[in-house]
């Protein structure tokens, strides 16, 4: 009698335990994990099979040795750095000033920072090309101030960095603004002013160090957007990594797969660092 009851209790415990295992949660999670991993695994597997019957890193060696890879990748990194610097120089003083003196400008500035969501990269580059492919004149005269920006290298560099600043604007602005919310900008400013600091000193030596985590996460996100970017680069004719990878894919098989996997690792590194600095707050972008 007692033993059958024990048996029943044990059985019920078992059932309860099985019921407590969230079957559907596991199901969706595993499906999601497969969706994440399969394309990466397939790319890695393919990239390792360059030599017949041998698993090896030959494709990686070939890809990284190509001088054109080195130059385009370097170019992309330099552009990313320029974009990050330009974004910080443009956005930090603006966000600071709004917080300190000009709260009435908040709405309009926030509206502008959302505009890049409405104007995707392909539209932005369309507009940029149409505007800056004619020479810049002194207003109301025929005197040419500057050759069309699209016709010389420094010109297209300026255009592409400006375009990237625009694409990164929503993320950078939000990062900086959130960063400033957590520090008492007004008190810091007054303290610095009472010690005789200039505006430049206040921003560079007081505000910037206090929002460095936010800046870093904005910067890494910008980096992730810029390094693989294709749309702006290919239409403006700037020799960066994105268009190079695209062209490589037209006439090679293994090296592009190797570089694709490598850029996945790079994205992961950037995102991992963001996680580290923002304490697990995921960030999202959208330069697809």
């Amino acid at each position: 009698m007692a033993s059958t009851q024990d048996g029943k209790v044990a059985e019920m415990n078992m059932l309860a335990r099985i019921r407590r295992i969230p079957f559907w949660s596991w199901f969706w999670f595993i499906l999601g994990a497969l969706y994440f991993i399969l394309p990466l695994y397939a790319t890695l597997k393919f990239s390792l099979g360059m030599e017949r019957d041998v698993i090896g890193f030959k494709a990686y060696g070939r890809a990284f040795e190509d001088p054109e890879f080195l130059s385009t990748f370097l170019y992309s990194n330099v552009l990313a750095l320029m974009t990050i610097i330009a974004s910080i120089v443009l956005i930090v003083p603006t966000a600071y000033w709004i917080r300190l003196r000009l709260p009435e400008a908040r709405r309009i500035v926030e509206f502008i920072t959302l505009l890049p969501f409405v104007v995707p990269a392909i539209i932005l580059v369309f507009g940029l090309i149409r505007i800056y492919s004619s020479p810049i004149n002194v207003p109301f005269t025929e005197m040419t101030l500057l050759q069309p920006l699209t016709t010389f290298e420094v010109g297209t560099d300026i255009l592409i960095v400006a375009g990237y600043v625009v694409l990164g604007l929503p993320y950078m602005y939000r990062s900086v603004d959130t960063g400033m919310r957590t520090v008492d900008v007004r008190t810091l400013t007054e303290a610095a002013q009472s010690l005789g600091a200039s505006w430049f000193t206040i921003i560079v030596r007081v505000i910037l160090p206090n929002i460095r985590a936010a800046l870093l996460s904005g910067a890494l996100l910008t980096f992730a957007i810029v390094v693989g970017e294709v749309t702006l680069a290919s239409f403006l004719g700037v020799p960066t990594f994105g268009p190079y990878l695209f062209l490589l894919g037209q006439h090679r098989a293994y090296e592009p797969a190797a570089l694709s996997f490598a850029s996945f690792l790079l994205t992961w590194a950037a995102m991992g660092l963001i996680q580290l600095f923002t304490g697990g707050q995921g960030q999202v972008s959208g330069a697809h």
Binding site: P22, W24, S25, W26, W28, F29, G32, Y35, F36, L38, P39, L40, A42, K45, L90, I91, P93, T94, R101, V109, L115, P116, V118, P120, A121, I122, I123, F126, G127, L128, I129, R130, V166, T189, Q193, S198, W199, A224, G228, E229, V230, T231, F235, L245, F246, G249, A257, L259, S260, S263, F264, T267, M271, G272, Q275, Q283, V284, S285, A287, H288
Partner: protein, 296 residues
């Protein structure tokens, strides 16, 4: 500058406009590289080849079948991936937040979603070619396991609507996870307890409390996913080489060379995209405000 520094809290009303000088560089930048380029496209779409005002481009936009097809294809791809990615992403976010999975899986999923939602463009296209292309890993796997060749025995093609949608899903559902996980965290424990105390079942709690609270957030996020796919160019271009005529690829062709033989029509095509994106953003922010009533 130094003058204002001396009296920080006493701005003279007469000098009020000077405050605006501080944000002038930002506005100037936005004007030069965001507003003017967009305005150029708007003006261009209302101008004919002789530079006069016309509505012909806008009218032609609705008459040209190839353009309408391109919009429609883009809308379909974006809607399908927004809906599919939205539902799948929600279920994933649910399973790691309130679904009872171990805590470490949650941070793993969030990290991976952050990476995947940023992993797009050419590398993503190549990854999917290695996965679901003619000789792709999964294509071969399915043939070995089930004896079905996707390309010979079914209509599947990676370089088509279905293939592009599957590829877009790779950055769509992670984006949903990233947005929904915090929203699901925002469901208050008290609501569930109150519902249970009043005798509600788990299903009733979800249908009548949790889901209505989450609905604006879910719909808003799906709109965001829609815009995310609608504006995408590089992934589609790298995947299909420009053969699949979604609207961004058509616009790209128009930028490269005036394929429509009417620049104004190209501008109108671009403006049409901006209008659709703007409508989605308005819808998104409206839903966002509704969300904030319950979830902050």
């Amino acid at each position: 500058m130094a003058q204002t520094a001396l009296k920080p809290n006493a701005p003279l009303p007469a000098l009020d406009w000077k405050k605006w000088l501080g944000v002038l560089p930002f506005f100037l930048f936005a004007l030069l590289f965001l507003v003017l380029p967009s305005l150029r496209l708007v003006i261009g779409s209302f101008t004919n080849n002789d530079g006069q005002f016309t509505l012909a481009n806008i009218i032609q936009l609705f008459e040209e079948k190839s353009i309408l097809d391109a919009y429609w294809l883009s809308i379909r791809v974006s809607a399908v991936t927004a809906l599919g990615g939205g539902i799948f992403g929600f279920l994933l976010a649910y399973s790691v937040t309130v679904g009872g999975l171990p805590r470490p899986l949650r941070s793993a999923l969030i990290t991976f979603s952050g990476v995947a939602s940023n992993f797009a463009g050419v590398p993503l296209a190549f990854a999917f070619i290695a996965t679901l292309g003619r000789t792709g890993f999964v294509t071969a796997l399915i043939e070995n396991l089930f004896g079905v060749n996707l390309y010979k025995q079914t209509n599947f093609d990676l370089y088509s609507f279905a293939g592009l949608s599957l590829t877009y899903m790779y950055f769509q559902f992670p984006l949903m996870v990233l947005i929904m996980a915090p929203a699901l965290d925002g469901l208050k424990r008290e609501w569930r307890e109150a519902a249970e105390n009043l005798g509600a079942s788990a299903t009733q709690y979800w249908l009548r409390v949790a889901f209505p609270v989450l609905l604006p957030s879910i719909l808003g996020s799906m709109i965001l996913l829609f815009g995310n796919a609608f504006g995408a160019y590089a992934t589609a271009y790298a995947l299909t080489g420009g053969r699949l005529g979604i609207i961004t690829i058509q616009i790209g062709a128009q930028i490269r060379g005036d394929v429509l033989h009417n620049p104004g029509l190209g501008y109108a095509m671009a403006m049409g995209m901006v209008v659709i994106m703007a409508v989605s953003l308005v819808g998104y922010s409206w839903l966002q405000r509704k969300t904030e009533r319950w979830l902050k």
